[in-house]
């Protein structure tokens, strides 16, 4: 197994210095997701304003992959229109579930491309997706609350 494919420097950097971490006060929805298999946990809040992801704040516990993934999530979606953020979500999920066969699009996923290696480790895919699933859940809830357009509610996981 090629460890370095999994633990890319970008991932270890995000792990050591997570972006956007901490729970902030402005939010419409808060969710708590766990990975029952290993116990990784995340509490995540989403604040939507004018159809944009104004903030994603979170508190999480888990391995380097799950922590780095939350940090990358924050970087990729905060400030983006909800639609665009959902599209990024879809791309990231596709990459993760592609068993290492999907070529990541750096323009869309930026630092997220470092997770291409994770897709080859089936047991770790859930770690990488934990925060992303929580984000989608909270975003759909936020949109429901604020009545803001643009969210694809039917897609709710």
């Amino acid at each position: 197994m090629d460890l370095d494919a999994l633990y890319q420097d970008i991932i270890l950097d995000h792990y050591k210095n997570p972006h956007g971490k901490g729970l902030r006060e402005e939010f419409e929805a808060e969710v708590h997701h766990v990975n029952p298999t290993c116990g990784d946990e995340i509490t995540l809040r989403v604040h939507i304003e004018d159809g944009r992801v104004a903030d994603v704040s979170y508190d999480s516990q888990g391995c380097s992959i799950s922590q780095a993934s939350a940090s990358v999530l924050y970087e990729l979606v905060h400030g983006k229109p909800v639609d665009e953020a959902m599209a990024i979500h879809a791309k990231f999920q596709e990459l993760m579930q592609g068993k290492g066969q999907v070529e990541p699009d750096e323009d869309v996923l930026e630092d997220g491309i470092a997770f291409a290696g994770v897709a080859k480790f089936p047991a770790r895919v859930k770690c990488a997706l934990l925060s992303w699933m929580a984000w989608k859940d909270a975003t759909v809830q936020s949109i429901g609350q604020t009545g803001a357009a643009g969210g694809n509610q039917e897609e709710k996981a």
């Binding site: 197994m1 766990v34 029952p36 290993c38 089936p122 047991a123 770790r124």
Partner: protein
């Protein structure tokens, strides 16, 4: 009678298929070749199922889900591939609707048990549960326990003299009070095939849940849940691994996903939780929510290989084979003086289990004499006492064939029955 090797419908590659089953080469006491006609009780196992299990144990054994090492990943993949194969076998709308239990009995009990607890489908006083007089005990006792424990009433479909469900009073049986209708797809005693679509439609019309025991159907009828229209698709379908050339220790509950999600938990423990604290626990999503503890891992791997094996041969072809053998057997049995077949006499309208009586000899004694000639059949109540009582008998003899059964084996049965008559000096 001579072996009719060219019966229409017979598996063309029967001789090759038989070679897949090592036990068929066994000789028994007295150097008799084995004539195994007890497949409705349990089926024999092809080499590929055994080998797949051995390979798993010798090379990939580990606990699943929780283990993140290489063996753990391999074991998890093999186990979940078993689920995929079972889902494909049933044509399940979603693989997550396939829950592994220890056998069909546990699957039926699971449903009956969780309906006793608080939730949107809780059964209680004033509610009816409807079953039939031809059920296997495993689809009777769980509902008796549920009604005793909740105060619900248990109602029964009766049987016609021909061994069919008596639907004449269906309007009195299936009413707004009905919460559950549970019945067998194919009777393990009478062979009767029940009208699943019609019964399900009627039950759904009053908002009842439908539980179908497919323990005898899954081995011999093609099942495609996705192809059923929702009104006619049962809510739960159950079968057991060991009757579909798979191992013991595993059964299957397929359930409608949205229902399963709303049911309270059955067994609690590892694997079925989302989180556990001293104050409270939350539960995982389906299917894991209903799979407490280490699941039957090597059994799921074996069952996957088993249903894949059946799929390769083709359920349509297996069904045709069963019908051909059943027709041939019904014909042969009826040549025997004093023998009465119970259940439908038209092979195209029934499954492959044939129960019969032979005047003047008790079923145990018949089975014993047949056994002395290597012919294995079942004698007794076949876990269907109410159905036996319905026909005024306490026990019967049952032959049951499967994809490896030959016409020559039916001949051996018929000859054995003639011998039984002479052994017991019946005129």
């Amino acid at each position: 009678m001579t072996a009719a090797l060219s019966l229409p419908g017979l598996l063309s590659d029967l001789a090759v298929i038989r070679q897949d089953f090592p036990i068929l080469e066994r000789t028994l006491a007295g150097d008799r070749p084995l004539v195994y006609l007890d497949s409705a009780n349990t089926s024999q196992k092809p080499q590929v199922v055994i080998d797949t299990m051995v390979d798993h144990l010798e090379r990939h054994n580990a606990n699943i889900a929780r283990a993140m090492h290489q063996l753990g990943a391999e074991a998890t993949e093999a186990f979940e591939a078993g689920r995929d194969k079972v889902a494909a076998f049933l044509g399940a709308p979603s693989r997550d609707e396939v829950i592994f239990t220890k056998n069909a009995s546990e699957a039926l009990n699971l449903v009956a048990n969780v309906l006793a607890w608080k939730g949107p489908f809780q059964v209680g006083e004033g509610d009816d549960v409807v079953i039939t007089e031809m059920e296997h005990h495993s689809n009777i006792v769980p509902w008796q326990l549920l009604s005793q424990r909740t105060g619900a009433s248990l109602k029964w479909f009766g049987l016609t003299d021909g061994g069919e469900l008596d639907l004449s009073n269906i309007d009195e049986l299936i009413t707004e009070r009905t919460k559950v209708v549970a019945f067998t797809w194919v009777s393990n005693m009478l062979g009767t095939i029940n009208p699943v679509a019609e019964l399900t439609r009627r039950a759904h019309a009053v908002g009842a849940l439908v539980v179908v025991d497919a323990s005898q159907a899954a081995p011999q009828l093609p099942i495609d849940l996705s192809a059923m229209v929702p009104e006619e698709r049962p809510d739960f379908v159950v079968f057991t691994g060991h009757k579909v050339v798979g191992p013991t220790g595993i059964g299957v509950l397929w359930g409608r996903g949205d229902l399963l999600e709303q049911l309270p938990p059955f067994l609690g423990g590892g694997e079925m939780i989302a989180t556990v604290t001293m104050e409270k626990s939350t539960y995982a999503g389906i299917p894991h929510r209903f799979e407490a503890g280490t699941p039957p891992i090597v059994e799921a791997v074996g069952l996957g290989a088993a249903v894949e094996y059946l799929g390769h041969i083709g359920l349509d072809r297996i069904h045709a084979h069963e019908q051909a053998i059943t027709a041939y057997a019904l014909e042969g049995l009826q040549t025997i003086k004093g023998l009465t077949v119970m259940g439908p006499l038209d092979a195209t309208q029934r499954g492959g289990a044939i129960s019969f009586e032979l005047e003047g000899v008790h079923p145990h004694d018949i089975a014993q004499v047949l056994d002395s000639r290597g012919v294995a059949v079942r004698a007794g109540h076949h876990c269907a006492k109410p159905a036996h009582q319905r026909f005024g008998v306490q026990a019967s003899t049952r032959m049951s064939s499967y994809l490896y059964t030959t016409p020559a084996e039916i001949d051996a049965l018929v000859e054995g029955l003639e011998y039984t008559r002479s052994y017991f000096k019946l005129g």
